[in-house]
Symmetry: C2
Subunit: 275 residues, 2 copies
Amino acid sequence: MLYLIGLGLGDHTDITVKGLKIIKQAKRVYLESYTSIYCDDSIDELEKFYERPVIAADREFVEQNSDQILANADIDDIAFLVVGDPLGATTHTDLILRARDKGIEHRIIHNASIINACGCCGLQLYNFGEVISIPLWTDQWRPTSFLDKIEANINHGLHTLCLLDIKVKEQSIEAMMRGRQEYLPPTFMTVNVAARQLLESIEEKSKQQTTKLTADTICVALARIGSDKQKIIKGTLQQMINVDMGPPLHSLIIVGRPLHHIENEMLTLYTMKQQ
Amino acid sequence: MLYLIGLGLGDHTDITVKGLKIIKQAKRVYLESYTSIYCDDSIDELEKFYERPVIAADREFVEQNSDQILANADIDDIAFLVVGDPLGATTHTDLILRARDKGIEHRIIHNASIINACGCCGLQLYNFGEVISIPLWTDQWRPTSFLDKIEANINHGLHTLCLLDIKVKEQSIEAMMRGRQEYLPPTFMTVNVAARQLLESIEEKSKQQTTKLTADTICVALARIGSDKQKIIKGTLQQMINVDMGPPLHSLIIVGRPLHHIENEMLTLYTMKQQ
């Protein structure tokens, strides 16, 4: 059996009792290490807690070695660990389908993901529209399609959860051209960078038409949700340029409708406590 | 400290290691019993697993006895357990704000909720729009506002997760009029009833205009997600009238865009295995 096990968001104790039991009994344990990271723990800490060796599996490894991951999984139990919920990221359905092709069953052990945990700031999950991803711009590549999606949500009075880009084990263009296996240091987009990209996108779009999203739109910055060191700050998009949210991971919510007084009270609570 | 602890979706072992530790050390443990239910476990089983007494807290209890729940929570740890994620339902922000008014801190221990776990069917969470709730119609009360929201999602090529009504400890109109504390048996809306209400809403609306949602729209029925006995079935809205999903809880996804071939393959996988 292939078990895809969600680790939740904060630290090693955010795994479920069910998930931990499976890890302790599994033949091999892999940790997916390219769609997210744990806030507070390294792989060594996980190994110590599980009392098991854990094999780090980056994107290259999973794509090129799925046979190795799935070897004997028809007889043995294999645990594939994912920070958050296993199917929050789209990438892991591929592993499930490869397992299916080999006649291997799979089971998902769910956990919290930022998609539901972001409700902790007090905004109602029922009032969220489509989730968007904001990619890190380069000098040559500055897509702005996320702006249209945020504006469609605002048009329907819906908040937008923006997931911010994570770059782990990416090659530089130079290394790629030379065919070298050299990697850039990991990059996690901050709320500040996301806000800057959004403001520049607005500036660009507003040359053609008025935008619903403006520098004054209320936003909520989230950092390290689920961890002891989580931080939540409410402010305008403009203010998000300078807010200090600390270490990764960051996310940003664009508020899409007038805040209900309970939402407002909840946000005040967090802001005051954690600033 | 007031701890709001998510229990996840399947059974008692879906609690996190962090959540379980807090329960074992808390002064009092309450189980919120009106926004959702565990698929596989009764309160007795929870008490046995936690080795602690658990106080069932229905809506009336929470609304009328928040002082009792929060008593001494500035000194003692109080655990308030919620199936799924604590802030999936909107009702619990009120308890947090009452705690704040008494100078009591709170902490949320996240877990899976149907809002992220529904991704297990293979549909990408990034392609979902606003979540909707379908209320159980009565003879006199037949709201159809959910249809407009589904159609807005379809217009944007987004899937819709429909949460189906749960009625726990509701009074009959007769009992209410007589001022009696008598309650109706719990009701959990099935996928069949949801599909019937949707088809009747379409019929009504299509007298005025053509609808995007039709009897042929592809849907995914979900039951007992996260439990050993989960069931996922793909079919048209019309077919959902007769599908047998078994015991609660049920949810329904309205597919809002042509399925990606990986989504389609994933759905085929589930359908074939579990029918």
